[in-house]
Amino acid sequence: MAPIDRELLKGSLEVVLLALLERGPMYGYQIVKEVRALSDGVLDLKEGSLYPALHRLERQGLIEGFWQARDDGADRRYYRLTAQGMQAARDKRAEWRRFTAAIEGVLRYA
């Protein structure tokens, strides 16, 4: 199967990250894994775009990062939704659904 157009993925990255973090705090590598698993391997986040996207959401105040020690003592940085981010996640999700429904509608009868 041909890979998904990167521009499509780029446009939906924000809603994907917000939706994912609704499930709880996650760190970068975990987010990559979860996305790959939940999309049956169709969506493969490039880390090169992941971290800038996370930092942008953090600057917008939708998520916040925090450090937490792993079992082996090393640190990793987790991200979680802020209150504003939760609202944004709901809004983005609804918006996305309207969008996909609209696209579906067009595709169905076109």
């Binding site: 590598y29 490039k46 775009s49 971290y51 930092h55 450090w67 792993r70």
Partner: protein
């Protein structure tokens, strides 16, 4: 893992993000390291495995791209810009310190406050450097650059603002300080607070900043492109009393404070242009400044208001040059010269036996009026000003052009160019002038004599002279060639030889003086350092010794004397005073001749002699203690002679009463005027090279 692929990868990213705060860079480094370790844990490999590290790096993407994406989020600027900003900040700070040291004159003018200002300047520059150093490790701490920049700009602005009036003004220091401030400002614009803003915001900020530095003082004192353009091209116009101006274009050339200081001194005064002879100046407003980048003339347009409510817009020329000392001359400086009483000159005040009546302005067409505006010094009088007998037309030479002006209509006509001297017929219907002919084969200059009939407009060459001066009498125009006097009748006929004038050629061309008696029978001329009179055929010659050093023997030239075609007639001993100027005017009836003479130094005195037609000195009057004299004019039925004298390095219009030999000073404070007697011989025409003509009656004690 100091030399592992992943460590190098992190260093590459970090070096591209060095304009970001240190904490932010550290966070990115730790997060990417944690990513590597998480991936290693997940895949159960050693994170130090170079192959594994290479795989993770491929997943993360090339270091430049990842750094650029992260930098875009955190407000980083291109690395080249950042380096340029750092350099600008460091250089600007250093320049501020250096420029501050050059402003030492501030302490001379403002004492302790000036000294504090210098210290402030130097500290401000140091703050700029400090800010750059801090930002190297902690970009958000670079705010000290902004503080330094503000201080430097304030101090620099003060230098510029107060400079023209303070002795401490040093353009170099001011320019360095302002440039320093500009560089620090540029450096400050790369601060993350600004860099993080959206592109549209940054564009808006840049536009606003450009508009401020281009059009709004004091921001516009910063070096800016528009100001640079005007400095190079010149001709910048601005209104001095508003904030809307490009200050940089005016640095060192803004004459407004200087002109204001001068005009302040003229408030409440009366005088000639731009003052009013009868109504005092009440107030003024500076409306426009026009600067010239070439270092030439600047202009200030002022609106002058007089006590009677009349207003006029007046353009004041200014020339400024040099730094130490700074030379600044305005077109109204001469009006401020102290009018001192001089020995031997009786002030012609009210009640004096000879004085001037109320001066009134002569209405003149504005275009014609412009003819009488001289340069900034207003000391280039119209040359050889002569009246037509009907008193309506005025003829003169200005900038080697011969002009006629109808005084009533203001109609001005340029008659000829390249004119050396001219003569009028009694009815002013014919006018003759000389134009130079370049020497052929190393010979002497010759002068073509041309006569024009004003009525028909035709003109013809009537001969050649070897002296530029010509003279007129009732019967024709006279000129010299090889010491021979020639005459051409007005209207028709070729020139004819009259006779040889003894010693008439023993002078340099420009020193020749020639005056014909009105009847054309007798001629007076300068012969060496003396006065000679003769019949026009050269007979009955009389020589009147004026007491100056005799001319040198033929063939003996003083070492520094100018060389002419004839054997020198200059003095043999230049340590002795010799005759500098000599002017002759026949009385209208031809019975007497008035002669003024002046010496080349203060040991000779300026004198007026009245000489009979036969050549006898009947009266000798010392006009002033020193200085030159202009041609005398017979006035008031020949009871008076009016002339311009230059005593004490100044200029005065004087009247000599022949009956008493008294000399009256007709000049008034704030006049700076030249004068010409009008054909009625009882009215003086006055002008001062600043635009207008005035006339004032010449009053004597018996005049009602």
């Amino acid at each position: 893992m100091p030399d592992s692929p992943f460590a190098r990868y992190l260093r590459q990213i970090d070096s591209r993000l060095r304009m970001l705060p240190l904490a932010q860079r550290e966070l990115i480094r730790r997060e990417l390291t944690a990513h590597l370790e998480d991936a290693a844990t997940e895949q159960q490999v050693d994170p130090a495995d170079t192959a594994f590290q290479a795989a993770v790096i491929r997943q993360l993407g090339p270091a430049p791209k990842l750094a650029a994406n992260l930098g875009a989020v955190h407000g980083a600027i291109p690395l080249l810009w950042w380096w340029m900003a750092q350099f600008a900040g460091a250089f600007g700070g250093g320049l501020g310190i250096f420029g501050g040291m050059f402003a030492v004159g501030l302490s001379q003018d403002f004492g302790l406050a000036g000294l504090l200002a210098i210290v402030l300047l130097i500290c401000a520059g140091a703050l700029g450097v400090h800010g750059v150093a801090l930002r190297e490790h902690q970009p958000t701490r670079g705010y000290t650059i902004v503080v330094g920049c503000g201080l430097v700009l304030t101090a620099g602005g003060a230098l510029i603002w107060h400079g023209p009036l303070a002795h401490s003004f040093d353009l170099l220091a001011g320019a360095m300080v302002l440039l320093s401030g500009s560089l620090m400002l540029l450096s400050a614009t790369t601060h993350p607070v600004i860099a993080r803003r959206r592109r549209a915001h940054k564009a808006l900020l840049a536009t606003v900043a450009l508009a401020l530095v281009s059009f709004v003082a004091p921001f516009s004192y910063l070096p800016n492109p528009l100001g640079m353009y005007y400095l190079v091209r010149g001709g910048y116009r601005f209104q001095p009393n508003t904030w809307l101006m490009n200050g940089f274009a005016t640095i060192g050339t803004n004459p407004a404070p200087l002109v204001a200081a001068r005009l302040d001194q003229l408030i409440g005064q009366t005088g000639l242009d731009p003052l009013d002879a009868n109504v005092s100046l009440q107030s003024y407003t500076l409306q426009q400044v026009i600067t010239d980048a070439g270092g030439g003339m600047n202009y200030v347009d002022a609106k002058l208001q007089y006590a009677n409510g009349r207003t006029q817009r007046y353009r004041i020329p200014i020339t400024q040059f040099g730094w130490q000392p700074r030379v600044e001359i305005t077109g109204i400086d001469r009006l401020l010269t102290e009018h001192r009483a001089l020995p031997g000159l009786v002030p012609a005040q009210y009640g004096a036996p000879v004085r001037l009546g109320r001066a009134t302005r002569l209405p003149l067409d504005s275009a014609a009026q412009q003819l009488f505006v001289d340069d900034v010094f207003a000391d280039a009088p119209l040359q050889q000003l002569e009246w037509a007998g009907n008193g309506r037309q005025l003829f003169f030479i200005k900038a080697a052009a011969l002009w006629s002006v109808d005084i009533r209509s203001g109609y001005a006509q340029r008659i000829a160019e390249g004119v050396h001297g001219f003569a009028l017929s009694a009815d002013a219907q014919s006018i003759a002038w000389t134009q130079s002919i370049p020497p052929q084969g190393g010979g002497a200059w010759q002068y073509r004599v041309i006569v024009r009939d004003q009525h028909s407009g035709t003109q013809r060459a009537i001969g050649e002279a070897d002296r530029p001066i010509i003279a007129s009498a009732a019967d024709g125009v006279y000129f010299l060639h090889d010491s021979v006097l020639w005459r051409a009748a007005w209207g028709t006929g070729p020139a004819e030889q009259l006779g040889q004038l003894p010693d008439a050629g023993a002078l340099y061309a420009d020193d020749v003086v020639l005056a014909l008696a009105p009847d054309g029978q007798r001629v007076a001329y300068r012969c060496g350092s003396d006065l000679c009179l003769a019949d026009t055929n050269g007979k009955n010659a009389v020589r009147i010794a004026l007491g100056f050093e005799a001319p040198a023997q033929p063939g003996v030239s003083p070492p520094d004397a100018p060389r002419g075609p004839q054997p020198t007639a200059g003095p043999a001993d230049f340590a002795q005073p010799h005759l500098a100027t000599l002017h002759l005017t026949w009385r209208a009836d031809g019975a007497q001749l008035a002669m003024t003479s002046a010496a080349t130094d203060t040991r000779g005195v300026p004198e007026l002699r009245i000489v009979s037609r036969a050549g006898v000195v009947v009266q000798q009057i010392q006009v002033a203690t020193d200085g030159s004299l202009e041609a005398p004019q017979w006035a008031a039925d020949n009871r008076l002679l009016v002339l311009t004298a230059y005593p004490a390095n100044g200029r005065r219009i004087v009247a000599v009463e022949l009956a008493s030999s008294a000399v009256f000073d007709l000049s008034q404070p704030h006049w700076d005027a030249f004068a010409s007697l009008m054909p009625d011989t009882r009215t003086l025409l006055l002008w001062n090279g600043r635009g207008g003509f005035w006339q004032a009656p010449l009053l004597e004690a018996h005049t009602p």
